[in-house]
Symmetry: C2
Subunit: 337 residues, 2 copies
């Protein structure tokens, strides 16, 4: 009997991998939102001193990685592994950041689920004793994502009200087997779920069933009580996807509504900032987790949380080929005990 596997899906980490530091950067618009006091750095300009948006995104993710290492009084030489990725083709931002950081690099792609995917894999690497220090993080940028997945910004294309606003933001964690901080206790790897949504402007509906599958699996495996959590946060479902999660889980006899929010709902003032259904992008759950949620954990205002970052695995090619949108959501349970 494998003591690390709980039920069908959940993995229990017995060696208490610890998030000893976390860092976040956001863009100007995110820096005007309700969480503006929670981020380490708010950019005054989307280009961050670079010549292109992709290079700006790369600098963002490089900078949050360096920040996390510095906050823990470590150097990049102390770090054994780096898990990173983003939405941009061939992980341009993460790959170029990894080149500058010089840390052995495993590129990961889970679309906007990347923050939780990195936390899962990084925590396993620490828990298993394969690394002493691991960096994990991700980024997204409104301008790089829009032009890659949708339309050139210059067109000024209107979006339907189900659409979301890609967050310009990045977040990183430094994981270790030593030191103090919140611990990763359970991880829940996500299955790819596709309920037939093909509208890339309704990603909340496409991704919500994947989040439901992951959250349900955790509670089914562990028999844990949703109300034992201070917070369950999905990645970037927005207000429509958030409601779908509540409704579908309630149908499955799991009520998370008392403790549940979505990072895409939290990061913007949805009505006031004209972002339709809310924020999206890898940087959404990354900056909200590494800024707001991590801060609450460190201050012991949260004792137990679940982060379920959600990713839509579409591409412009799959969209042109009239395919539906497969989605994935990885879960991480983080505790303060």
């Amino acid at each position: 009997m494998n003591q690390k596997r709980i039920g069908k899906r959940t993995i229990k980490l017995n060696n208490r991998p610890t998030i000893i530091a976390a860092s976040s950067i956001v863009g100007p618009k995110e820096g005007q939102g309700p969480l503006k006091d929670k981020f380490d750095l708010i950019l005054s300009n989307d280009l961050y001193g670079q010549k292109t948006w992709e290079l700006a995104e790369s600098k963002m993710v490089q900078t949050v990685m360096e920040m996390s290492v510095r906050k823990a009084d470590k150097t990049l030489d102390d770090v054994d592994l780096l898990f990173g990725g983003d939405l941009i083709n061939q992980l341009f931002p993460a790959s170029f950041a990894a080149r500058e950081l010089g840390v052995p690099f495993f590129g990961i792609y889970g679309a906007c689920s990347t923050m939780a995917e990195g936390l899962c894999l990084g925590s396993m690497a620490i828990d298993g004793g394969y690394a002493n220090y691991v960096l994990a993080g991700t980024s997204s940028h409104y301008c790089t994502a829009e032009r890659q997945f949708r339309f050139p910004l210059e067109l000024g294309t209107q979006k339907p009200m189900t659409a979301q606003w890609t967050v310009t933001g990045a977040g990183s964690v430094l994981l270790s087997s030593q030191g103090s901080g919140p611990k990763v206790k359970y991880i829940v790897p996500g299955k790819v779920i596709d309920k037939g949504i093909s509208d890339g402007n309704n990603m909340g509906a496409a991704m919500a069933p994947a989040a439901v599958d992951t959250i349900y699996s955790y509670f089914d495996d562990t028999k844990d009580d949703p109300n034992s959590f201070d917070l369950i946060a999905t990645g970037d479902l927005g207000k429509l996807g958030k409601q779908i999660v509540i409704d579908l889980l309630r149908d499955m006899k799991i009520d998370i509504s008392n403790v549940y929010t979505d990072c895409g709902v939290e990061i913007f003032d949805i009505e006031g900032q004209d972002v339709h259904c809310g924020g999206s992008g890898c940087g959404c759950s990354a900056s909200v987790f590494c800024g707001y949620i991590y801060d609450k954990l460190v201050k012991k205002e949260f004792k137990k949380i679940m982060l379920v970052s959600t990713g839509a695995l579409l591409s412009s090619t799959s969209t042109l080929q009239k395919q539906t949108i497969p989605s994935v959501a990885h879960g991480v349970v983080i505790v303060n005990d």
Copy 2:
């Protein structure tokens, strides 16, 4: 002192994660090459019964995953984790295959280093007891890669002699803590190395320094003898990159020339099949490892090998922005003892 870390980079797996099955599929051209008897399936048509090349590539990777499970007398329900990825934007082939397979999925991106990246991460997951069965694999397809990274095939664009031919192929392994087969003993995560090559038609030269860095790190960490290997195989450097590896390592006082080859050199009859410098693509080292090398390991003709899959982390966007080509190479040492 961490017993699992050897020197600065190498990770030793003490619980003997075992490759209990491996499977491979290649396209028609690869099926006419010198390794044609080593693959499980040779496609008679690049489209594999699908409407698009991307869907054909997805079916290839799905099929090799199913084959590996079947060869081990297991079912997909037995498999706890799937590590997969490919060259195509947002991992279209792997993501859609993961949807069909229904196994919890960690998407990975290391360009053509993906086979070794999946072996690294999958082996850690088995070694650490986080999973009982893990699938890892990858694919590439000449037609999907060419049109994404270079030119529409219909143009019939000529390539310089330093260019390589993207392999249409897929490979997968099933890893377990139980059962018989070759064991993954060491893994060597790659750093991102960039020596300033910017020519996407000279990937061998771009990637060779990353392979050198990984191979050198292994020998520096372990003090192992290159001639104790039956084979050291890089991923897809082609004949030019292969020579660069030999030369650079010899300058560093490590001579692997007696036991060294490159999968991109092996898979094609380089002169006879008009592939310029040889094969490339994730599917190159995947199909050569899962076909030819795994077969030799199972037959005990090889006792100890190192696979160093190599990836060029460029994108069409980074190329248009006149960036150089960062590269990565992950290493895996597999033994038969």
